[in-house]
């Protein structure tokens, strides 16, 4: 039913756009507006001039005010049951990320999915979504997606493919020489197809490989428990948390739940409230480290020693190792943490990052068990989809077979292994040796090029499927729109190849589940499953395993440290993850939370290491107007962001990479993000970053103990959205410690002394009706950028490209500020989103000569784009610098298909006008009208959610009516932590902040922040 609906309307829209594009009116307009038609609307450097100019309906509609081209209305031919044109519908679905599924809701406007939200019903979303999920919309409409099957690099008709598959499946026999290479299978129905395939072809093999694999985690649990278990930490229950090289609030979080739960433990309403404490030990300065109450930097390879010392300090198991060769600071640290954990038995929690070796994970399990945390703050599940075989081992074997020519048919299902597999396996070359190689993928990527056949895959928003959350909760993945390019799902292809009983993806999924449901009301249950986005009672069985302390203690014996060489650590990244999102402009342009770099990756090194390597150092701690700090670090603004480049060598293989000096980075350790430097990719990804996979071998997939590094005579311009790292002692983002706050709750307000602020005229009366306001809780915010992307999707915010970001023209309405605090040795960071403050006495309004920005009776700082003439005076006079100007025609370049992403409730701004956050006024208006229709009822608190608030995994952003004393936002504004940024200017901001509190341990407090 739904599929039919979306198909129909989807196609309708599609068709109408085509027609519009051919109308003489449009053609005439196109030529009138762009005499040079297609090429060069924007200056050469922009990434957009390569996309051809097809600004169809939006630009056209914008002009109908003055000219009147004939415009057609194309109604449905057959009425669609309870479907109202122009009204958005929400459907539940799920997105698989990092091997697990998270439930989502997709907003569909006239058959076009336009916005992703978290599914409140889903236990691992609770209404929130992360950057990758938010940006999926743009991925769906990516004009560079594979559009048809390709045979030997040439597009062919689907018919040709189907015939080829038929003949091939006939010729497979017992399936010797038949190999399947997929990513981790997370879909039960697909697993069924897989099982059927392997049953039909007993000689065939199925290899699962993820570039960002959980091998070590699995091995760890195998080592500790003798079985593979899913570990489920419960950060909301823990009072003391120790994260060992684990960015569980950032890149190592598989769903948003970890942030949700953690932030619950950090919310402080009254001064008396309890608050969890977070210790972080890590090599890279992650957002988790920035959130930590105490953090020390440490080379990733020393964590193993650290954890065994910690175990020793905790007297865990038989391990009686003495703390040796440890700096005084570190041992103090260990003692303090051990004491704290010991004091909080059953309320503590230790977690380790997936990069750490199995032994570390095992020891973590041991510690958690010894401290009685197991079962309390961490629970274990037995997965139904477990992978007994280490992925690296499996793919290595496959590579061997390939090179020996033992494989006749290779079916690769997504994942782009030719790009992301360990470099020493040389997969790209080996694939070419196979007689029949088939690739199913979204893009024409490195693997697609290597294979004989490549098949356009259906995007998850286009296809039927299902997937499991970390705890096994199953979700049906339903399509929001018919496949734009008739793409196929992986299951569909395998089913076709292996003659599975069901061929259509819909049948594959539905029949699998209805078979599981109780016979009678299978249909009803199925409908419920679709509606809720959750299938009840599908969670894995919880188990209470026992750790084999002996084995663990045996494994943990630290090998001789090779502290000599430079350590190289690989991580996924915030923009492209493992490279799969490389062509997604929203993600490419989102700044990396700590370094604020966009459109690139860089080798992160500590200032000390940089000096040691003789590299020019950008001092992100440089203070004041000076060009350099005492250390001689130059201020990046003045260095023009040109950085040195180094050559990194890992057993014979070399890579040239730009260096970025990151305070808080462990000395002697380089962090390099995977997923950049794509070669076979779309326009957006071209030239973005360097390919770290070139150094990643199956021997050392995460941590290279001794990489050779040398400076080379090259420079590279990296681009950031924020170039100055320090707050200049200005009380912008305020923080204190929990202890101090309890002693003197007014400490936050007292950070600023202002004389009584009086205006020249009386204040305007905002005491009646709805008065919108917002609070942002710095204590909860982990700087994950989800709000920025959500805003970008909701408000049709354009992408500007690396060159334009470099010119300081990024368009994000809600930007993420990051300031370093504390000493340069062990810096801390505070982060916060900065949207428009909706000042009651808005400085921007006074100076606008044409009254394009004015105040609404409900306290909004309205911005009428169609009135703006673009003097930019408002931006100059905005102390928060949150206004964004369309310096060039960002939207004229948008290809037709990409325009389907636009939110119809928000104007697509033209060149030359100013724009800014409006508290999602379109949502406010919709709700107000709805309330009117329902008999002028008052609007309920929380009924209106801004896009940023809705998606925030930390619930840091709260929006509502400040006139209603019982609304969430008014309650928060009553807190002592509440303050207005730059309130001394008497701008009366409606958006206020709740100061950050660090729950410090006084034992460590004395030593350092």
């Amino acid at each position: 039913m739904i599929q039919i609906k979306t198909k129909q309307t989807g196609k309708k829209y599609w068709r109408s756009l085509d027609q519009l594009a051919q109308t003489p009116a449009f053609m005439e307009w196109l030529h009138r507006e762009f005499p040079s038609s297609a090429e060069e609307v924007i200056d050469g450097a922009s990434r957009r001039n390569v996309l051809k100019l097809m600004a169809a309906s939006f630009g056209l509609a914008g002009l109908t005010a003055c000219r009147r081209p004939v415009e057609h209305i194309l109604p449905n031919v057959k009425g669609v049951e309870d479907y109202i044109p122009g009204k958005p519908y929400f459907y539940a679905t799920a997105m698989v990320h990092n091997g697990v599924a998270q439930g989502l809701l997709a907003e569909v406007n006239d058959g076009r999915p336009t916005k992703i939200e978290g599914n409140p019903e889903h236990p691992f979303s609770l209404g929130a979504a992360n950057v990758f999920q938010q940006a999926a919309i743009l991925g769906l409409y990516d004009p560079d997606r594979a559009r048809s099957p390709r045979q030997d690099g040439k597009d062919v008709d689907w018919k040709v493919l189907d015939d080829a598959l038929k003949t091939l499946s006939g010729s497979l026999g017992q399936g010797d020489g038949l190999r399947f290479l997929s990513e981790s299978v997370t879909s039960p129905s697909f697993a069924a197809v897989q099982a059927a395939a392997l049953a039909k072809f007993p000689k065939a093999k199925w290899i699962q490989y993820d570039a960002i694999s959980q091998d070590e985690v699995r091995a760890g649990s195998q080592l500790a428990f003798g079985q593979q278990l899913v570990v489920r930490p419960r950060f909301d229950k823990a009072k003391v948390i120790l994260a060992l090289d684990s960015d569980f609030l950032g890149l190592d979080a598989d769903t948003v739940l970890s942030v949700k739960e953690f932030s619950r433990g950090r919310k402080v309403a009254a001064e008396t409230d309890e608050m969890s404490r977070l210790y972080v030990v890590e090599s890279r300065f992650s957002t988790t480290g920035a959130t930590a109450d105490h953090r020390i930097k440490m080379r990733a390879s020393e964590i193993k020693a650290f954890v065994s010392d910690l175990a020793a300090a905790l007297k865990v198991g038989g391990n009686e190792l003495k703390v040796v060769g440890q700096g005084d600071k570190k041992s103090k640290w260990i003692e303090a943490v051990a004491k704290d954990l010991g004091a909080n038995r059953g309320k503590g929690l230790v977690v380790a990052g997936p990069r750490q070796p199995a032994a570390v994970h095992a020891m973590v399990h041991l510690i958690n068990q010894a401290l009685g945390n197991a079962g309390e703050t961490v629970t274990y599940y037995k997965s139904t989809l477990e992978q007994t075989r280490p992925q690296l081992e499996a793919i290595a074997e496959l590579a061997g077979e390939l090179s020996k020519g033992q494989v006749s048919t290779l079916v690769i299902l997504g994942g782009n292994p030719a790009y992301s597999a360990p470099v020493d396996l040389d997969l790209a070359a080996n694939i070419k040796k196979v007689a029949t190689s088939i690739y199913v993928g979204l893009d024409v990527d490195e693997t697609a090029v290597a294979c004989k056949w490549s098949i356009a895959e259906a995007h998850f928003l286009e296809s039927w499927g299902d997937a499991l959350a970390p705890d096994g909760t199953a979700t049906i993945q339903q399509p929001m729109i018919a496949p734009l390019y008739y793409g196929r799902t992986q299951a569909e292809i395998v089913a076709a190849l292996t003659g599975y009983k069901d061929q259509r993806p819909y049948d594959i999924v539905r029949n699998y589940w209805t078979a599981k449901f109780a016979k009678g009301d299978a249909d009803k249950l199925w409908r419920h499953a679709l509606h809720d986005g959750v299938i009840p009672n599908t969670t894995f069985a919880e188990v209470k395993p026992v750790v084999d302390a002996k084995k663990v203690n045996g494994a943990i014996q630290p090998a001789a440290q090779s502290a000599s060489g430079m350590e190289l650590v690989f991580t996924p990244n915030w923009a492209t993850w493992d490279g799969r999102f490389a062509n997604n402009g929203w993600l490419q342009e989102i700044p990396e939370p700590m370094s604020k770099i966009t459109w690139d990756n860089a080798a992160l090194v500590s200032p000390a290491t940089a000096k040691q390597l003789g590299l020019s150092t950008h001092g992100w701690m440089v203070k004041g107007y000076k060009a350099t700090d005492t250390e001689g670090h130059s201020d990046p603004t003045q260095a023009g962001n040109f950085v040195d480049m180094i050559q990194i060598e890992v057993d014979g293989r070399t890579l040239e990479a730009p260096v970025f000096v990151q305070p808080g980075q462990a000395d002697g350790s380089i962090t390099l993000a995977l997923g950049y430097g794509r070669t076979e990719c779309g326009h957006v990804a071209k030239g973005a970053g360097v390919n770290a996979y070139k150094l990643r071998t199956s021997k050392a997939p995460w941590i290279v103990a001794d990489a050779k590094v040398s400076k080379i005579a090259k420079q590279y311009q990296i681009v950031q959205t924020q170039e100055h790292g320090t707050m200049e002692d200005r009380p912008l983002l305020r923080e204190s410690t929990l202890a101090e706050y309890r002693k003197e709750p007014n400490v936050i307000k007292e950070m600023l002394e202002v004389p009584e602020l009086v205006g020249l005229y009386g204040d305007w009366d905002y005491s009646k009706g709805n008065q919108w306001g917002m609070t942002i809780d710095l204590n909860a915010c982990v700087g994950c950028n989800a709000c920025t992307i959500a805003c970008q999707a909701e408000n049709n915010i354009p992408i500007v490209g690396k060159d334009q970001v470099n010119r300081g023209r990024e368009m994000h309405w809600i930007r993420m500020d990051r300031y370093f605090v504390g000493d340069e040795e062990e810096p801390q960071a505070v982060m916060s989103p900065v949207p428009c403050m909706q000042c009651e006495t808005a400085p921007c309004e006074n100076v606008c000569p044409v009254a394009a920005t004015t105040h609404s009776p409900e306290g909004l700082n309205d911005m009428a784009y169609n009135r703006c003439v673009g003097t930019r005076y408002c931006s100059n006079n905005c102390p928060y610098k949150v206004r964004r100007f369309n310096f060039l025609a960002w939207n004229y370049g948008t290809p037709e298909v990409e325009m389907m992403k636009f939110n119809p409730d928000v104007t697509v701004r033209m060149r030359g006008v100013m724009e800014k956050c409006t508290y999602c006024v379109q949502r406010i208006q919709e709700t107000k009208i709805q309330a009117k229709l329902e008999g002028h009822r008052p609007i309920k608190d929380g009924e209106i959610q801004t896009a940023c608030q809705q998606t925030c995994p930390a619930d840091a952003i709260v929006f509502g009516n400040i006139n209603d004393p019982n609304s969430g936002v008014s309650k928060l504004k009553k807190q002592k932590r509440n303050y207005g940024m730059l309130e001394e200017l008497n701008t009366k901001p409606r958006t206020t902040y709740l100061a950050k509190l660090r729950n410090t341990n006084e034992e460590l407090e004395a030593k350092h922040g």
Partner: protein
């Protein structure tokens, strides 16, 4: 003999017209400039300047076609060269009205030889200035919304609280009034040219332009009244214009902009730069057109004195800004000014101070004050310095304001540079046309001045003879 006595008498001002020419000779000297055959040099000069003006046209076309993005402006530096150039040109446009209005009210006779020239310069400078407020908007075709145009469609009006709207009023008024003032002054001289005209074409052209002026006593009566009033209202006008321009900054809340000293400071700066430009052009013109006896060293020296005075006022303003920044105890202010002087734009600031405050100090010395080449160089230096003053005020205040997270830096594009360069083409083209077709010196006023001087002399001679006996 007696003549000598008079000349050496310290109480007697040196003559404003040298060589004691007859009125007819004055008429000749000025009129002949535009009556003789057009020299090739003029054609060459205008060919060059016109093509530079063409560059301006191209740049503006490219700008309107693509958007402000072709300039270097960004967030946070949303205003950069555009408004800098605007203030720069407007400032230059101040000397003219000042000379014709204020010096007139102060009965400064020496103004007569240079006021026409300076007024023309004013007009052309304002024309160049006017380009930028219009084209710095993102949608210039909507710029008319800044004017209070009655509209039946939107029911919308400009926001009269905005200094930009004040600008619109001030600058348009200033342009109009200056043009009127200039034309009124021209009418009698146009009549003179008319009556000297040989060819029919010139007769008709100047005949029409001079509106049939015939120098009747009744005309002169009203004429002088009108001129007096124009001078009277132009004086507050000229002061208000640059005050209003300074409000663009003073009325904002940006540290480094939000300063009460701005209006006087800007006016002084404007006069400063205006006179510098007059000197630059005058030194060349009087030499080229052989009117040294009408535009004498006395004139130039007086202008240099004014430059010295205003330059020092500007220097005082710079100093007091710093003092207030420190004295106010406002950390943002304090930072902004330290950042101005020692931050990334230290070079611009240093340039500004040395050009505007230090260089004019040489004019304390009469020798330098009266040296043509020296004053020419200084006047150029001052023009450079004043451009940088505006850039420093705009650029350095914007690039690092309240939130360090939003700090930035500004790099001009080639379009930025060519646009500014092009405005000089426009300015000089208009100027060459003026020199070619209109009397560059207010003949009738000079004559009037000479006549009174003659009476004065006659009187002195009498005195001198009395003494001899």
């Amino acid at each position: 003999m007696a003549d000598l006595a008079v000349r050496n008498d310290p109480h007697v001002r040196p003559r404003l017209v040298e060589g004691d020419p007859s009125l007819h000779q004055v008429t000749e000297a000025v009129s002949s400039i535009i009556e003789t055959r057009t020299p090739y040099s003029w054609w060459i000069a205008i060919a060059i300047t016109a093509s530079i003006a063409g560059v301006l046209k191209l740049c503006l076309g490219w700008l309107v076609y693509n958007g402000i993005g072709v300039w270097g402006n960004n967030q946070p530096i949303a205003w950069a060269w555009d408004i800098t150039n605007f203030v720069f040109w407007i400032g230059i446009g101040h000397a003219g009205t000042l000379i014709s209005a204020i010096l007139f009210l102060f009965r400064q006779k020496w103004r007569t030889s240079i006021n026409r020239f300076a007024e023309a310069m004013t007009l052309f400078a304002v024309a160049c200035a006017g380009i930028f407020p219009l084209f710095h908007t993102g949608r210039p075709w909507r710029a008319y919304w800044l004017f209070p145009v009655p509209n039946t469609d939107l029911y919308m009006w400009p926001n009269f609280r905005s200094p930009l709207v004040w600008d619109v009023f001030a600058v348009s008024t200033y342009a109009t009034v200056s043009a009127l003032f200039w034309y009124v002054g021209l009418v009698p001289d146009l009549a003179t040219i008319r009556d000297r005209a040989k060819t029919k074409g010139r007769k008709i052209a100047y005949g029409v332009l001079s509106l049939g002026w015939r120098g009747s006593a009744r005309h002169w009566r009203n004429y002088e009244m009108a001129y007096l009033v124009l001078a009277g209202i132009s004086t507050p006008l000229v002061l208000s214009v640059h005050s209003v321009v300074s409000f663009d900054f003073a009325a904002s809340l940006l540290p480094g902009w939000h300063t009460t000293i701005f209006p006087p400071y800007f006016v002084a700066g404007a006069i400063f730069s205006g006179f510098a430009m007059v000197v630059t052009l005058m030194v060349v013109a009087r030499w080229v057109f052989k009117v040294e006896h009408l535009v004498t060293m006395k004139h130039l020296e007086n202008m240099n004195k004014i430059m010295l005075a205003t330059g020092t006022v500007v220097g005082y303003a710079y100093a007091s800004e710093f003092f207030i920044a420190w004295y106010s105890g406002n950390p943002y202010e304090k930072f902004t000014f330290l950042n101005r002087a020692f931050g990334p734009y230290w070079w611009a600031y240093t340039l500004m101070v040395s050009c505007n405050v230090i260089s004019p100090q040489f004019f304390w010395f009469k020798k330098l004050r009266t040296s043509i080449p020296f004053m020419f160089v200084i006047s150029l230096v001052v023009n450079v310095g004043m451009w940088f003053e505006r850039f420093v005020i705009i650029g350095t205040s914007l690039h690092r304001d309240f939130m360090p997270s939003a700090w930035g830096y500004y790099h001009p594009t080639i379009i930025d540079m060519l646009t500014f360069f092009g405005t000089f083409g426009l300015f000089l083209t208009l100027f060459l046309l003026f020199l070619r077709f209109l009397p560059m010196i207010a003949v009738s006023e000079v004559k009037g001045m000479m006549a009174t001087q003659k009476m004065h002399d006659a009187h002195l001679e009498a005195v001198a003879q009395a003494v001899e006996h």
